[in-house]
Amino acid sequence: MPLLEFNNVGFGYKTGGRIVDNISFSVEKGELVAIIGASGCGKSTLFRLITRLEANYDGSIEVNGEPIEKSGAIAAFMPQKDLLLPWRNILKNVALPLETLKMPKQERISRAKNALSRVGLSGCEEKKPSELSGGMRQRASFARTLMTAELGRELLLLDEPFSALDSITRTQMQDWLLKQVRSLDKTVMLITHDIDEALLLAGRVIVLCDKPASIARQADSSMIKSREHLFTPQAIQLKEELTQLLSADAVLREADTEVTENAR
């Protein structure tokens, strides 16, 4: 039984029209699935549905075979921006999810320290977010997501976690994340608009195209296990196919925007 299953899911806001339509996919336990698509195509909407920030969708979303509404929260969410609270030090920021539990303060601190040590931020406990670099802040944000996962959440949702970083730091962070998720016993979904990042990190890539967004392709990328594998003929061909798919979608989006603007 899959951990998460979307069946013909559609969603839109009352004021803004449909965002996603006929979305069907499933995620097995322990899988790492990437979702790619153009900016603003509706990738994050899928995460909003999984975290139940949005309701009133069409179709069905099931968690372990049960409707998502009946299951408790299943996901630990890492947003695009780190969203660390500037008045809290790093340790207290990371420990924030544990404050939902009635847990002795000492245990909370000890668990948060472990998470910080796991992401290589030992020694930064007392620092304020403003004292850390962009990459370190994202690692702190990842540690906070791990703390949320400790609340019994089986699924990690990572929404373009490295999009705000420069390319060198992003490459370093991708390698770092690859090691982290491989050592975690968690299911991971990753949103990105970077095809290389998706192929490198995920075992499967879901491509969203069109408006409203629907799944254009689900590609197996499990053969790419390291950065070197990105240059094998098989990987290069897959990358080209995905690039073509996204480029065609971008042309359609541009034409659609022009038609809308002309109509105004």
Partner: protein, 249 residues
Amino acid sequence: MRVKKRLPAIITALCLLFLWQIIAMCINAAYILPSPVQVAIKIWELKEPLFTVHTPATLLVTLVGLVISIVLGIALAVIMDRYEFWERALYPVIVTTQTIPVTAIAPLFVLWLGYGIWSKVLVAVLITFFPITISVHDGLKSTKRENEELMKTMGLSSLQIFLKLKIPACLPYFFSAVKMAVPLSIIGAAMGEWLGAQSGLGYFSKRMMTQLDGAGVFAPVVVLAVCAMLAVAVITALERKLIAWRKEV
């Protein structure tokens, strides 16, 4: 370093005092414009009634007015933040209260509440609750929606989000409002005393006016200004201590 930073303000203030002294000496009529030296001498001569009777009376009205304004302002801001209906119902009314000429209707407060402290407190409250309400309301609204949503996904309740996100985010706005409200509250208290009181710096200043004692009118005004400056300095120090993170953002 701190003195060096404040040196321009100190020099400007000294220059203005010097200019005032020269003009007063030229006019040479203390009942029209007393010189700073004459005012200082008057403060020293009247130190007994000024500092033991009238300053405490005004500060009491200021403090009571300020506390009521803070409690009322925070309560209104929180209600408006939490309930959209109350925001739509109250916000225009609160803005309208600021169009009421408090000075013109303050004599009515004396009629309603008598010569005790409450008529003056009402003047102080009417003047000060507005900046506190509006600033705290803006502070509560200033939190990013994405922060709130992230906390929701972590499983934090509305109350926890309010305590752990909204209140800390609102603190800079709150301190700015209180710094604005303290001098206003002192002005409100003195204004109320001018219109009818038995003690207080406003009352004292009015009494000196009837005696054509120019330096006597200025003396309580100077004391009022010094009290306001000291209060703002204390709040600024508290602000620096409590929200040091603001500089770091």
